[in-house]
Every structure is written in structure tokens, then in C-alpha cells.
Subunit: 210 residues, 2 copies
């Protein structure tokens, strides 16, 4: 009877646990990468940090060395579905994300199945827009002219965090916490986002919605 | 003549380059750790991430794996002077910092030579106050009653970042950026802190000073 109850509990837990994949490359912005992982884990998500490089260990944009959980080319990822896929910014990190065939395949597959895609800083312009994935999507990115020029819609470009359907985009290190909490809100609801924000001593900012 | 100019330049650069040591342990808060390193590097500091564990690779409080530059027990650190020593929070990370004899020796040596000591979240209470290093110092920490009780001075406890002489203390992940920029301001001046904040899309917050 206890065994049955435990089995049931494990099933329910597996059904309700939210999962996220955060991609990382050499030159990814470390504040954006780590803030996303940390905040999602605090909310209760199971987070996989996946390296698009040939090795698990990457050197982020300001020299912080991060060790990923697995390589984006890992066979186990070919059929796995996450509730959210998150692309941090930083240069040349966002270019490495853009140039990773397995990552872009995974992003497109998750778009088709209605999952959440998060991108911040250089990533919306460099990784997503370069693959024409932000056409007609209201989005923002780091406010550099060469990044902004790649976004087709400029309506919400000045907001720190923008949600439009499956996409949550944001601007840079200073908005990484708001971005991460917007991901938490989308996956777990407003109450959980408030709870996580409070424990982190963050005042939950408004997210512009289409 | 060029050689002479280059030698001179190298000397001036070595004289003016600011250095910081950021300590890290298993269970350190990864946002606090990485935000300090990233922001100081952006400002132009040479930052050494030093592990108080037996290995360079540590697992931070929410599972992010970070690789330090060297071990705190490294012989090269015994005589080295940094312009700032930074202790991130996170539990049990702050306890591991507290229990590291080489780290606490280094902190005490830097206090005696007038250097800057930064501590955030659990670290002011758990790592510094436990060694009686915050007696009569205005400081703040994560607003948990058991941490607050360890601080002797409660005057500035509600401010996100507090500077008092050699000490800069702060409260948690949500104040990590303000804390890191206060370190930048103390080392490089207000103008450089404004410049770094602007590039990171952060509005520079006020730091309460004694
Ligand atoms: Cu960036």
C-alpha cells in the first residue's frame, strides 16, 4: 500500500515537474546564464545546462568557467521535450548558439510543440532572428543598433522583458533577474514567481505582454 | 625606445590594475558569485576565483558547477595582496568559507593592510561575524533572524548595500548587482561604476554610507 502510494506520488511528480534547458557556449554572458538556471531551480524546475561546444566546460564572456550537465549533441536530447528552452546572450556566445545545428533543431522542435522559448541580450537578434524565428514576434534585445536592426517588430523594443506567445525576450545582465522571473511566472504562475522573487529579495517587475 | 615605452606602460598598468579575490565553495550562491566576478571584470579588475574546497570545481547552491582559478590553499596566495576580497553568500557555502583557515587568514591579513572586504547574503553573518570581524561595523546581511542576530550593529541593516570603511555588505541575490557595482565604485570611482552599470542596463542604486 505504501509502495503503491509512493509510485503514484512519483508519477504525479514527474507529470508536474517543469523542465528547462539552458544553452551555454564559450562567450555566453555568465550573469544571464546563471541567473536563469538559479531562478528556475528555486522555482522547482529541473534545469539542464547544455553546452553547444565540444566540451562540457565553457568559458563565459567575462572568464567564469561553467561546467554543463551535457552536450547539446547528446543523443538523449534528440527526443526529449522541455517546458522551456533558454538562450543567454553574450558575444561571441550568442553566435555559437546560432551556429549550433543541434540547438537550433531543438529550438525549432520546441516551437512546433508550443513550448516556451526564452532569449536575452544578444540571443534574440543573433541566435533567433538570424534563423527567422522572430518574424512577426514582438521582442526585445540588447539595445545595440546592429542587434535591434535584426528584429522585425520594434513595437516593444524598449521594455526590459517582453512576452509574446511562446517567446519571452529580454535586454541584458541588468534585466536577467526580471527575465528569469518572467520564465518562472510563465511556467509556474504568478504566485510562485512572487514567492521566488521575495526569497531572492527582488521586487517583481512588470512584464510587457502583447 | 619602443621597448622602454612598453616596459613603462607595463609598469604603470601593473600599478593601476585593480585585483580582486572572490572566494567560492560548494553551496555558494551562484548569482552572487558570478555577478561579482563578471561586474568586476567589466570594470577592468583582474579577478581570481578561489575555491576553499579540495578541488577547483565546486557545485553552487542551485547546482551550477563553477571551476575556480586556484585553490585558496595555493602557496602563491600566502603573500599576495588583492585590492578587494569578496565573500558570496549561499548555504552551506558561507559555512565552508567560515571554516576555511587559509581564507580567513587571508581576510584578516587584508583587513590589517586596509583592503576592501565585500560580503553578501549569509556571508557577513556566517563567515565574518562568526570570526568577530564585524564588531562595531555597520553592516547588513540576508534578512533572516538567525543571520541578523549575529550582527552587532543594527543601524543600517535594512539597506540593500552598506559601506562602512573597509567593508561593503549586502543582502542577497536581488542585491548582488548593486553590491558588485558598489565594489566597482570603491575600487574604480563613481564614473567607472556608472559606465559599467549603463553597459549592463542597470540603474546605479544608492549605497548607504556611514
Ligand atoms: Cu550581451
Amino acid at each position: 500500500r505504501t509502495a503503491h502510494a509512493l509510485r503514484l506520488l512519483a508519477t504525479v511528480s514527474a507529470m508536474t515537474t517543469k523542465t528547462a534547458l539552458v544553452a551555454v557556449a564559450n562567450g555566453s554572458e555568465e550573469i544571464e546564464t546563471v541567473t536563469a538556471v538559479d531562478t528556475l531551480v528555486r522555482a522547482g524546475a529541473h534545469v539542464t545546462l547544455a553546452s553547444v561546444e565540444k566540451e562540457l566546460q565553457v568559458t563565459a564572456s567575462r572568464g567564469v568557467k561553467l561546467v554543463a550537465d551535457l552536450l547539446i549533441s547528446d543523443a538523449s536530447l534528440r527526443s526529449k521535450q522541455f517546458d522551456a528552452v533558454v538562450l543567454p546572450g553574450g558575444m561571441p556566445g550568442a553566435e555559437h548558439l546560432r551556429d549550433s545545428q543541434p540547438l537550433m533543431d531543438l529550438v525549432k522542435r520546441h516551437l512546433e510543440t508550443g513550448k516556451l522559448i526564452g532569449a536575452i541580450c544578444a540571443a534574440p537578434a543573433v541566435a533567433l532572428a538570424s534563423h527567422h524565428l522572430l518574424n512577426d514576434v514582438k521582442a526585445t534585445c540588447y539595445p545595440a543598433p546592429n542587434f535591434r536592426a535584426k528584429l522585425t517588430s520594434h513595437a516593444h523594443i524598449d521594455d526590459p522583458v517582453v512576452r509574446d506567445g511562446q517567446f519571452i525576450t529580454s535586454q541584458g545582465p541588468g534585466t536577467a533577474m526580471a527575465f528569469s522571473l518572467a520564465l518562472v511566472e510563465a511556467l509556474f504562475g504568478h504566485e510562485q514567481a512572487e514567492k521566488v522573487a521575495k526569497a531572492m529579495l527582488v521586487t517583481l517587475p512588470a512584464v510587457s505582454k502583447r
